[in-house]
Symmetry: C2
Subunit: 271 residues, 2 copies
């Protein structure tokens, strides 16, 4: 099969993150095509719209096939300029806003991706969550664990840090994480500092072979990274979590987003 | 004006992040309506689809108005079950996949939000970027600055850390950040460690009044947080960045996403 190539042009009066997120989801369904992205964020005046129109047509002429434009543009005048291009349009506002107006019996108010700077309370909650995650990464501090929304436990390099940071930045959760280390397995007890917070504890685990590969990159040929030790630590951690009734998730073949959403679901069940 | 309330139901066979991102963008346009979200991620079998169908109808009956369902569901059988609900549907796959098939002359391959676990090279690049950002936060280490994709500078609490972490998690960029401190202003020189990396330096600044509020929360009634000192530091930092030809952005009323996308644009121009 020959792989065809197509240029995808993301246009937005905001960051374009919504358009691009949708684009990734849709285009991932077409594995026979290679996509090349071009981005036009913050397109918020007529001059930029005309420049973009020219670029779209230029790309189409050069490539001999019209580009695909994925667009979130709240300004109908700018939208009209862009629609003059010879392109295949996926226009999220055009497609959904008018039907939504009818369904909600409400005119839309054209709010360009609103700014959420320091003046916005959501922004401050989010930054506070991130600072909490940074301060409580890898068991660095247990001063404030009672204020955590969630505490992740697991062996070193099982994925606790990226998951905690993502939970804080994306969902404004105060996420702490705490390592389970060989000393804990020897004592065969959950670290005593965590005991009061059973309700917020969730575990991460990982296949020993994968853990071995990750640790080997960091510290080659060490006991820490040996397959034998990885097997021992993972088995011991899972045994401890099972005994303590801590629900855990295997990170081996999950994205950070998948883990984060699964944990959010668990928290909503708990609450 | 009376505010009406509507339930928004996000349904996906993946995380639902795409559906929710689009939902936020669309619904932000309707300020006269209060929206209550319900989430059904990982809906990947018939039983879950039937449960969800029942829930959608139940919500509609209870509230006396049909819910709005925003959906990314790649399985047409499950999609058909859900569409039996009495709801207003925004169905991203239904709406766009068939026209895209025609445009691309390619059948879609039904890839549920693919897993990007440790086995995926993109995952590893992303984690490496995040580890880099953590290791190079707030000037902690300058061992490896030559490998940074971008280095953010600015006064303490101007927004460097959240922006760096977001750039690493979202765009897999190796983002370092380095504080500009009173000693730098007294010497009136860019820290010498940064001198070799002019091409990767970008600045963040912030309105002194806002900086004062943020610092005051951390260290009330200190010289550090006084409005006078905040004014001095911000003016000195901007003067230095101007002289050194470092492009900077004001974070006062910008979201982390907006800053990150603007910086990405600058990097693409530079390269």
């Amino acid at each position: 099969m020959t792989i065809s190539k197509r240029t995808i042009i993301y246009v937005s009066d905001g960051t374009g993150i919504t358009a691009e997120t949708l684009g990734h989801g849709l285009l991932a369904q077409f594995q026979g095509v290679e996509f090349r992205p071009l981005r036009f964020p913050f397109l918020d005046n007529e001059e930029k719209a005309r420049d973009c129109l020219a670029r779209i047509n230029e790309v189409g002429q050069r490539e001999g096939v019209r580009p695909i434009v994925i667009m979130t543009q709240t300004n109908p005048d700018l939208s009209a300029i862009l629609h003059k291009a010879d392109a295949f349009f996926i226009d999220l506002f055009d497609t959904f806003i008018a039907p939504l107006e009818q369904e909600l019996d409400c005119k839309y108010t054209r709010a360009v991706g609103r700014s959420h700077g320091h003046a916005n309370p959501d922004y401050n909650t989010r930054i506070a969550a991130m600072n909490f995650a940074l301060a409580h990464d890898d068991g660095v501090s247990d001063a404030d664990l009672k204020n955590a929304d969630i505490i992740l436990v697991g062996v070193s390099r099982s994925g606790k840090t990226p998951t905690s940071l993502y939970l804080s930045l994306q969902f404004s959760l105060k996420a702490a994480n705490y390592p389970l280390i060989p000393e804990d397995f020897e004592r065969d007890q959950l670290p005593s500092r965590l005991q009061p917070y059973r309700g917020k504890l969730f575990g991460l685990t990982i296949e020993p072979e994968q853990l071995h590969r990750i640790r080997h990159e960091r510290r080659p040929n060490s006991k820490y990274s040996s397959l034998e030790n990885c097997r021992y630590e993972v088995a011991a951690a899972e045994r401890m979590m099972r005994r303590e009734g801590i629900k855990w998730f295997d990170t081996t073949s999950k994205s950070i987003e998948e883990l984060a959403v699964q944990l959010m679901q668990e928290l909503n069940h708990e609450r």
